[in-house]
Symmetry: C2
Subunit: 440 residues, 2 copies
């Protein structure tokens, strides 16, 4: 067989590992594919930089467009919207299949990319875009295609999982944990995309699209990061035998009028310590799937890093290469269901609320009344003294901390309740509000 | 589009659930496939029996051959070697794609089935054959096809996992735990296939074939069941902070002369309590994969039952139906590597050995000498008195229990050591021998 020409766009941590494995294992790949894979070029921004891989210097080029035009398969690991989008479109329009790890682009503009793939009869694969090495997209798209997925609950951002795990294990605050994550290479110098939940939101959009056969974009995802999670929240979670995780939550929903829809959100939440996701430590990722016939499934592994991401990229490269050799395409993404994305206010969830209240008779009755007024039912209330270091003795004597965990209600009802509580005379401050998920 | 005719062979627990979901969700399946799936018939051994699904009685037939001949897709959930094999061959020879859950048949005679599939250009899918609802075969075959799998470690038999879990949690013996599993429907009236490891061995052969691109049959698998696991073994495991699991272990190996190979085995083993597989309780299944680039991955879920198995079957049905609509085949199994299967004696493992010894000076030196003679290095030795109920007081005073955990060595060296120990004058009995796995 003629070799298949593979073009690599980007040679950072992931690209380097992809190039290394492609070169080192070329004989094995040729056997798996049925034709040799020939690395035809590596597009970089600047030539002459030291790379972590020993390649013929002639392979490097700054002319990514020309590289794309002469390849059968293009691997895009540049990231970001442009020039990645233009290059992927150009590659598919010239008949190449594309493998990408670009979650941001897929979550923003997947629709136009899939249209171009369809028009040209080429493959667009992106297993590496969600949860790194963990095979989760192919199982959702193909293995579970005969089932009805009800919910996908994922820890899909390693940085925030590391930060929250450190806060739990050491009692340290958010900033200190982020600094530690940065010093160990688990967080970028500018950690915004991770800690504000943008990265997880893009992945949530991709997971929801596949799980529900519906196009969901990043803009459809309700997003809250972990920057406001405090050491007190973590301590509160531990008192209720829970852990705080940044979750991507994709739900198949039924609206008040009975119409089906989906809701997709990313936010920190307390989950019980005995939930399978609670044991996901450090920078690991895991995706928990609940479906009608299969029941509960969990997929666990490394969510980032050069080698794990390269594993996912190369799995796709071999697959699209086999398809090229066989003259076929893989199954296209199916978005036939086209379910509406429901607003966050309609989501059914539970809240954990800590209130700083005046320690006087009748306060609990007033607070309970505010919940009742909004139709929110209370599951537990716990009252305790403030820790002395928070207030001087006199203030502490007049104040108490009230921790309320609600039963399930709409997010709109719960957030109106919190707003009403903040205006009560007997409530000095709403100290923390966090959703509670993962009841089984 | 013309409907695709689907024939169902077998209408037991799984078949019933498959028929029910195919019928109830026919509109949704039509949208996912791009053509309606029409249940064309259900082959059963006897007509007129009550079934757990409300189907047109005219669909049932005892003429499975005639059904197979007029279908585009055949689902085989009869199990066993014949008539399943003949029917699957006939279906493929008449141009139908086949979905099967038949691990025994695939592990015994997969080669001839795949050859027939290739000759006829049809699909043969079997996700349900291993670990029920858990998508593990497609990830191994496709997602990890760009990586090098080093080891697959699986809990792939729910019955034995339930039995061992009960022995751990209650202290009960093997027979009592099996009886309880039977009363709850987790074990068959004749539990041989499960407790002797036949079921797990068939699955191990399938996992190894996909992981190592090599045809492995059930006969290649070293197999030991759990019938000889005692309450004392379980207690011993707990003392070393381990749990006993029936494991399917598939290893990529390098022989003494440097040649690559594979080893595949099923046996009970102690694994550390902090290993991800140790937390797999009840009748759940999980598969742990170690690969070069991806690192450690785990797949977890329900390994049996009507609905979970139907989820896997229907995922395959939709996939092969989409392939039919698109006029393509899915990727065939790749067995190009053809690695030799190495004998059990060459496998590198560790042993946990309990000895009943005479309590007199020099015994430990004699025992240690036997290990040294066979080149086996000892990791830990623990000596303790026998529990009084085992012996009368006089005997107990003269005896001690010596528990030895070895470093890694070949299984041949370890088993020769055990044989030599049994012949020592100072060793009254070798009370238990179990392998230790899962160090990370």
């Amino acid at each position: 067989m003629e070799p298949l020409k593979v073009g690599l766009l980007g040679c950072g941590v992931v690209g380097t590992e992809v190039a290394r494995l492609l070169t080192e294992q070329s004989e094995e790949f040729a056997r798996r594919v049925g034709a040799p894979l020939q690395l035809a070029g590596v597009a970089v921004r600047r030539l002459g930089r030291a790379r972590g891989v020993d390649l013929d210097p002639g392979l490097f080029t700054t002319d990514s467009g020309a590289l794309v035009d002469r390849c059968d398969i293009v691997i895009e690991v540049i990231g970001g919207i442009e020039p990645a989008r233009t290059l992927i479109q150009r590659a598919m329009n010239s008949g190449a299949s594309v493998v990408t790890a670009n979650k941001a682009l897929l979550a923003e503009d997947g629709e136009s990319l899939f249209r171009t793939a369809d028009q040209n009869g080429v493959d667009l694969y992106y297993e590496a875009a969600v949860a790194g090495a963990i095979p989760i997209l192919r199982p959702l798209k193909e293995s579970l295609v005969g089932d009805t997925v009800h919910r996908v609950l994922g820890i899909v951002n390693g940085t925030t999982n590391y930060v929250l795990d450190r806060m739990h294990s050491s009692g340290m605050g958010f900033s200190e944990a982020v600094a530690q994550a940065q010093s160990l290479g688990y967080a970028e110098a500018d950690p915004t995309a991770d800690v504000e939940g943008f990265d997880a939101a893009a992945k949530a959009a991709i997971l929801a699209s596949l799980a529900f056969h519906t196009r969901v974009t990043a803009a459809d995802v309700h997003r809250e990061g972990i920057t406001e999670v405090t050491a007190a929240d973590i301590a509160s979670a531990e008192r209720m035998r829970a852990v705080v995780k940044l979750l991507a939550i994709c739900d198949r929903t039924v609206g008040p009028d009975g119409t089906p829809g989906v809701s997709v959100r990313v936010h920190p939440a307390m989950i019980p310590q005995n939930h399978p996701l609670a044991g996901v430590r450090d920078a690991y990722n895991a995706v928990f799937v609940q479906s009608q016939a299969a029941g509960e499934l969990m997929f666990y592994g490394k969510g980032a890093g050069g080698a794990p991401t390269a594993s996912a990229v190369l799995g796709d490269v071999v697959t699209v290469a086999r398809n090229k050799v066989a003259g076929r395409r893989g199954p296209a993404d199916s978005v036939h269901a086209g379910l509406p994305v429901r607003p966050m206010g309609e989501v059914i969830t539970r809240y954990h609320i800590s209130l700083d209240v005046l320690d006087r008779p009748g306060v609990l009755a007033t607070v309970a009344g505010a919940f009742a007024e909004h139709g929110v039912s209370i599951e537990t209330v716990r009252q305790h003294q403030h820790q002395s270091r928070q207030f001087d003795d006199e203030t502490a004597a007049q104040r108490a901390c009230l921790v309320v965990v609600t039963h399930a209600a709409t997010d709109a009802a719960l957030s109106s309740t919190v707003e009403a509580l903040a205006h009560l005379d007997s409530v000095h401050a709403v100290e923390s509000v966090m959703r509670v998920e993962g009841d089984t």
